[in-house]
């Protein structure tokens, strides 16, 4: 399906994989051979997750030279972890396999059934790499943090571990634990190094997220204790058969928890505050990685594990996605604070993830993942650049800025590039992501054509609104009269090499994915296809069984015949 519709999305990874694989094999290292042939994990993944946490414990005792040693140390840890993950995935990850790889499972608290079980598959891999990249860059972006540097880098590294843990946990209790670990570091990072209203923003963040995560635990307990065996293993939980009512309730619980994080429309109000009050490196991670935890959870748990309920909720999610897009775009337009505008644009972009998730097609889910990766890169670069501007002008109010292009041409060029990526200029990753989502929902045979038409139309309106607010932002900040009252700090001047390097590290993958999307899609295609197949498998069954519940009748029932047909096609072509 993917091949036939978007031939440029896929090409022959197999060749290059075979080449590298044989090259490594030919060295004759038995351990690596065993690893390549799919042997059990050797602890690499645990090492990747725990390295930042363990390294963070040394920070209080490091000899310090006004924060200089600490920042080099933190950067070193970030880079080492990034290298470690690239190396481990390069050596051991089979892109053609949709199952969990690098699996590790050790009992942690057997009395509870809590296992330290971690693994990566197509859904986790791109997000783990994104986490590694963004955290390393965020540490580099925080080079000028001179206020309590030890605490800052300590919290950054703890947060690093928590993010990785969320993306690789295969035990839902471990997932919850990692999800909760991240709360306090983010709270402190916002409330110590944030802007004017940082305490309000941080408190709002922690209350929202903590209240949301209650639902994860309740839903996890409900699933774990259902049936004969008590297990928290995500795969085992996915295999259990739940009564529909329970599944719907559990689904709703997860939807609230992940909806707070993603965020989904009525639960989003913490986000503009938190993102705009946090300092630039922190908002890079907030927008770049933490939002993806919500999207990841939705795909991993709601779609893949609770497929029956997903059939009922999918139309709701699609509608919420549209609301996110339109509302986010309109609200962004009304902001006069640079980072608040970017924050609302994040809400709009996450709407596409929701639509992709709701599409029931492999293209749509693949688009949702691509949109998450791409938004992670784009939002991080935009937030970083607004931090660059803030360091020099000490304001984020767009009216007070203006004419910055003359004094800061390099920063202007980079900002423009990132904004173009965000408004989905062809050739940038944002375009591919949104296009794939559009194709996914448009080709979906699960919905009636009028529903699809409305969703696509409204989402397209959102796409038109995006350039309006982003271009007007560029105009206000960089063009126009040089407003009086703004003093560019002389000693800073235009973007420094470090700042250019960070932005380029983000822009290169953005353009790379934009020109050759397979760079990103090959990492998860097999998995998203498997997820989509799994969900579509349930679709006709539910539609037949329950022709009159919820949204199923109007939206799904007409499509039964065609979805059956495509299902049989898919099977016969295999």
């Amino acid at each position: 399906m993917l091949n036939s519709q978007l031939p440029w999305l896929t090409s022959s990874w197999k060749v290059s994989y075979a080449l590298t694989g044989s090259a490594v094999l030919s060295r004759g290292n038995p351990a690596l051979e065993a690893a390549l042939t799919g042997g059990p994990g050797f602890g690499e993944l645990s090492a990747i997750i725990l390295l930042p946490l363990i390294a963070s414990l040394a920070i209080p005792v490091l000899p310090d030279n006004r924060g200089r040693t600490v920042r080099w140390y933190a950067l070193g840890v970030g880079l080492a972890d990034l290298c470690l993950m690239v190396f481990a995935f390069w050596q051991q990850y089979d892109l053609q396999n949709s199952a969990f790889q690098l699996v590790e499972s050790y009992p942690w608290v057997p009395q509870l059934g809590l296992n330290w079980s971690v693994a990566v598959d197509g859904l986790s891999l791109p997000l783990v790499l994104l986490t590694g990249l963004l955290n390393t860059l965020a540490i580099l972006a925080a080079w000028r943090v001179t206020h309590k540097p030890r605490l800052f880098y300590f919290l950054m590294l703890v947060m690093y571990t928590a993010q990785l843990g969320v993306f690789v946990a295969q035990d839902i209790l471990l997932f919850f634990l990692m999800w909760e670990i991240e709360l306090v570091p983010v709270y402190l990072l916002i409330s110590i190094w944030g802007g004017q209203k940082r305490l309000y923003a941080a408190t709002k963040f922690i209350i929202y997220t903590a209240a949301g995560s209650v639902f994860i635990l309740v839903a996890a307990l409900a699933m774990a204790f259902y049936g004969d065996t008590v297990t928290f293993d995500i795969t085992a939980l996915g295999l259990k058969q739940y009564p529909l009512v329970l599944e719907l309730l559990v689904y709703a619980g997860f939807l609230i928890a992940f909806g707070v994080k993603l965020p989904i429309f009525p639960l989003h109000t913490w986000l503009p505050d938190a993102h705009s009050e946090a300092s630039a490196p922190v908002s890079m991670i907030l927008a770049g990685v933490l939002l993806k935890m919500g999207g990841y959870g939705l795909i991993r748990i709601n779609v893949d594990m609770l497929s029956n309920a997903h059939v009922y909720f999918a139309p709701v999610i699609a509608i919420l996605g549209v609301v996110n897009i339109i509302y986010g775009a309109l609200a962004a337009f009304a902001q006069d604070n640079l980072k608040r505008r970017l924050a609302y644009s994040s809400i709009a972009h996450m709407g596409f993830v929701l639509i992709g998730i709701a599409s029931f097609t492999d293209l749509g889910i693949s688009g949702a993942v691509l949109q998450m990766v791409s938004h992670g890169l784009i939002a991080a670069s935009l937030f970083f650049l607004s931090g660059v501007a803030y360091e020099r002008t000490h304001t984020l109010v767009m009216e007070k800025m203006g004419g910055l292009a003359q004094t800061m041409p390099k920063a202007f060029a980079l900002f423009t590039a990132a904004a173009m990526a965000s408004l989905a200029l062809p050739g940038m990753s944002g375009f591919v992501g949104e296009l794939t989502v559009f194709l996914g929902i448009a080709t979906s045979d699960a919905y009636s054509s009028s529903f699809k038409f409305v969703v696509v139309m409204l989402a397209a309106i959102g796409v038109i609104l995006t350039p309006i607010y982003l271009l007007s932002m560029l105009r206000q900040v960089f063009y126009g009269e040089d407003n009086s009252g703004i003093i560019i700090e002389e000693y800073l001047g235009d973007a420094r090499p470090r700042e250019i390097l960070i932005t380029l590290c983000l822009l290169v993958p953005i353009v790379g994915i934009g020109l050759y999307p397979k760079l990103a899609t090959q990492t998860y295609d097999v998995k998203t296809e498997a997820v989509a197949t799994h969900v579509r498998h349930v679709l006709p069954v539910i539609a037949k069984q329950q022709p009159s519940t919820l949204y199923a009748r109007t939206l799904i029932a007409p499509a039964v015949a065609s979805s059956n047909a495509s299902e049989s096609n898919a099977i016969s072509t295999r």
Binding site: S191, I192, I206, V214
Partner: protein, 510 residues
């Protein structure tokens, strides 16, 4: 009855740990009497050594084949061993933190330790008491010592007020408890041993009588007073605020643990006929405690009052395990009390240290402490976050286990309420962390601005430091490396015959 038979019936070896505590108590009293004031240099360490060797003796009593002793008055089963260990350890840590505090308040240390040891003794006997008279005597030993302790700083009017309040409310609750227990004695036909009472009541077919329910309610009132469950909590904030802080630390952990030990033993052994009723009463108590404790704690401006309400809320969480009534439920109580021992005592050590250095315990006075005293900030933050259930600290695992057990026992509403109130509790715990860590140097409170030079060399500061580091390490690691603690908690329940009626009857049946 010949001597050998009598010795076997007495089985006095089971109270060896208590014997060690009594010997220590004697050493402290006599040592103080003979050596005089200068004895305070080694007395506290002798007391700690005694308590630790009592704990070691408890370890060797584990899995005792014949736990019943003193003609059935005392039951040294694994459950009681765990609780006695918790109480002894909490007393040991309390002594660590009290040396400097008591000396600074200008009162005699040896007497303080002696009274604390007798309170410990009462608590330990209460944990294993298997007979009504024994229960009452040990309860009174614990209570009267506690009254004395709360009024120990006799020149401080607030301490006197706290002692008077505690005494009056405590005495009346003891009277109520005694009344309930006497009803039990009558209903069972004159039995005092707990299992005989249950059998007696069943024989007299007084199972569903109103008398039994009244006895139950009155007994619960006495227990609820000890564990400070709402609505029997009124004494807690005032007593916590007025009493010497080490005493509060002991009351919040040691005395509470003894109360829970009594609750488990009394309710499961003597009231098996009204299980539904006592679960219902405790559900009400748990709901009230969790809601009231957590919500009122939000509004507190004094650290000790906040910890008082927090301890009410924590009692509410622990009651979930009791209501669950399963092996996992009781085990989760034991586990939570074990980690609560470290995190709550750690919190109190920090509060003591701060008030020793600045003379205040207002939450707002903690602003900007991070700049002046990072270790204290770290320890207090870790302990408070652990109380709030933030992973990967010990409290998170404790709470998870309680909720896990509650859910397993189908107490869905309670677990949900527990989770929601946990979110509320995060707010007030993190408020203190925010005060200490987030505030800028210019926002520092007056107390912190005049913060004295940190010096651990003053007399009595070393033990505080040791206690601080110990509880800090335990609170951070007891969660991650919690396996031994989980095993301990589970074994203490599984190997206690009293809690395994189903297993016993099955074995008898075969």
């Amino acid at each position: 009855m010949d001597f050998a038979n009598l010795a076997a019936q007495l089985n006095a070896g089971t109270i060896l740990p208590e014997g060690i505590v009594i010997t220590t108590l004697m050493v402290v009293l006599v040592g103080d009497l003979i050596v005089g004031r200068s004895a305070s240099r080694w007395l506290p360490y002798a007391a700690i050594a005694g308590l630790l060797s009592a704990t070691a003796a408890l370890y060797f009593q584990w899995d005792n084949v014949s736990p019943i002793s003193f003609l059935g008055a005392f039951n040294s089963d694994d459950l009681s061993i765990v609780f006695r260990g918790i109480i002894a350890l909490s007393a040991a840590v309390t002594i660590l933190m009290s040396i400097r505090y008591v000396e600074q308040s200008g009162t005699a240390l040896a007497e303080f330790i002696a009274i604390l040891l007798s309170a410990t003794l009462g608590g330990m006997f209460l944990s294993g008491a298997n007979e009504l008279v024994m229960i009452f005597i040990s309860l009174e030993t614990l209570s009267i010592s506690s009254y004395l302790l709360t009024g120990y700083t006799k020149r401080d009017p607030r301490s006197n007020e706290a002692a008077l309040k505690y005494l009056l409310i405590g005495a009346s609750s003891t009277a109520v408890f005694l009344y309930g227990v006497s009803l039990l004695y009558g209903l069972s036909g004159g039995k005092t041993q707990l299992d005989a009472i249950a059998a007696g009541i069943a024989n007299n077919s007084a199972g569903q009588s109103l008398g039994l329910v009244i006895a139950l309610v009155f007994a619960i009132a006495g227990i609820a007073f000890k564990i400070s469950a709402a609505p029997f909590h009124q004494w807690t904030p005032d007593v916590y605020e007025g009493s010497p802080t080490p005493v509060v630390a002991f009351l919040s952990v040691g005395s509470k643990a003894a109360g829970f030990a009594l609750a488990i033993r009394l309710l499961t052994t003597a009231f098996p006929l009204v299980t539904e009723e006592w679960r219902f009463v405790f559900t009400a108590l748990a709901v009230l405690s969790m809601v009231l404790g957590n919500v009122v704690a939000l509004a507190q401006s004094s650290m000790k009052r906040m910890l008082a309400y927090s301890s009410i809320a924590q009692a509410g969480f622990i009651m979930i395990g009791l209501i669950a009534g399963t092996d996992a439920g009781y085990a989760s109580m034991v586990f939570y009390l074990l980690v609560y021992l470290f995190m709550n005592l750690g919190g109190f050590i920090c509060v003591i240290l701060f008030s020793l250095r600045t003379g205040t315990d207002q939450i707002s006075e903690y602003s900007g402490l991070y700049q002046k005293d990072p270790l204290l900030t770290l320890c207090l933050s870790i302990c408070l976050l652990s109380l709030g259930g933030i992973p990967p600290l010990a409290g998170f695992f404790g709470k998870i286990y309680l909720f896990w057990a509650g859910w397993q026992a189908e107490q869905y509403g309670l677990v949900l309420l527990g989770l929601i109130t946990t979110v509320i509790s995060i707010y007030y715990y993190i408020r203190v962390v925010r005060m200490m860590v987030v505030k800028e140097p210019q926002e520092m409170s007056a107390a912190v601005k005049n913060y004295p030079e940190i010096s651990w060399n003053l007399p009595g500061m070393r033990p505080l430091q040791v206690g601080l580091v110990l509880t800090l390490v335990a609170t951070s690691l007891a969660g991650i490396l919690s396996n031994p603690l989980f095993t301990l908690a589970n074994n203490s329940i599984v190997r206690t015959p009293m809690l395994q009626p189903a297993v016993v009857s099955r074995e008898v049946g075969q």
